[in-house]
Symmetry: C2
Amino acid sequence: MDESKADESRAEWLDGETKVLEAPGDHGAEIRLWLRLLTCTTLAETEIRRRLREEFDFTLPRFDLMAQLERAENGMVLGEVSRRMMVSAGNLTALVERLVEMGYVSRTVSPKDRRVQIVALTDEGRAAFRTMADRHGEWVGELFKDLSRHDEALLMEALGRLKGSVRSALSGPQ
Amino acid sequence: MDESKADESRAEWLDGETKVLEAPGDHGAEIRLWLRLLTCTTLAETEIRRRLREEFDFTLPRFDLMAQLERAENGMVLGEVSRRMMVSAGNLTALVERLVEMGYVSRTVSPKDRRVQIVALTDEGRAAFRTMADRHGEWVGELFKDLSRHDEALLMEALGRLKGSVRSALSGPQ
DNA sequence: CGGAAAAACTTTAAGCTTGAAGTTTTTTTC
DNA sequence: GAAAAAAACTTCAAGCTTAAAGTTTTTCCG
C-alpha cells in the first residue's frame, strides 16, 4: 500500500529514540526453525488425516470438534467451541450440521438467549469418539515412538516458550 | 507412565499368542506434546497468512510455490515441486495456472518428454518474491522474538529427531 | 420507551486440498 | 513391433476454511 512513508521517515527514527530495525534482516535461523516445525506438523497431520479417513471414514476437523465437546459434560456454546478450536464461527456451522446429521452431536437453542446455540455429544457420538480417540492416541504414540523421554519433556517446555513468544507478538501491536 | 490399572484389565487378554499392545494405551504425554506443536504451528501460520493477505494480497500456498522455484535457477519439473511441497499434483495445476496468469511464473512443456511441465519464476516473479520473502523473514523473526538463542538451537535439534521419528514411522510398515 | 450498538450466529464467494478417475505420452515386455 | 504398464499430469467432486455481508436477538443508553 503506502510503502513510501517507511523509507522516507526511517532516517529520522534512527536517532536514539527508536531501536534500530536490524540493518541485516537476517532471521535465517528463525526461518529454518519455522520450516522444520512446519515439516514436523505437516508430516504427522497428513498421516493422522489419512488414517482417520481410512479407518473411520472421518475427517480431522470433525474429530477435533468432537474432542472439544467431549470435555464438556453439558455441551458447549458454539462461540466457545470456535474460540477453543481457533476457527471461524462460519466454519463450524456446516461442520456441526454434518455431525448432527450423523447423530453424533445435538444442537439446541439456549433458552436464556435465543441467539446462542448449544452443541453437545450424543451418547452415540461419545462412544464413537472414544473409539477413534483411542486409535488416535496410538497413532501419535507410534509417530513419536523414537523420541526420547528427555526430548519429549524438552520439546514440551521449549514449545511452551515459543507459544508464549508468538502469542505476545500477536497481542503486542494493539 | 505406570498405569497399573490398565495392566490389570488387560491381563486376561494376554493369552500366549497375542503380542502385547505396546505400552498401556496411555500416550497422554505424546498427545499433549502433539497438541502443543499444533498450536504453535497454527498460531504462527494463521498470522503469516493474514499478513501475506493484508500486505500483498497473496496466499501462503502461492508463496510456498514461489519459494520452491526461487532456488531452481532453470525451473523445476512439476512433479519435483509436488514432492518438495508435499502436496498432490492436482493441487498444483490450478496454483501454477494462477501464477502464470499473474506473470510470476512460466510454464513450458519439456522438449525431452512431452508429459512433463517445467515451471520457473519469471524476472517479475523473482522480484516480487524477494520483496515478500524479506517481509516474511521479518514476520517470523518477530513471532519468534522472545525465544532465546538456546531454545532456538535446542528446538532445531529436537525437532530434527522428531522429524526422524515420524519419517521412520511412515516408512516402517511400507 | 425506543433507537443504536453489540453479540451470536448463518450465508456466501473465493480459494486450497485431496483422492479418484481420465488423458496423453513414454517405457516395458513378450 | 504392438499391447500392456507406468509416468506425468489434468479434471472433477467433495470437503475445509476464511472474510465479508446478512439476520436475528439482546443489551445499552439517553
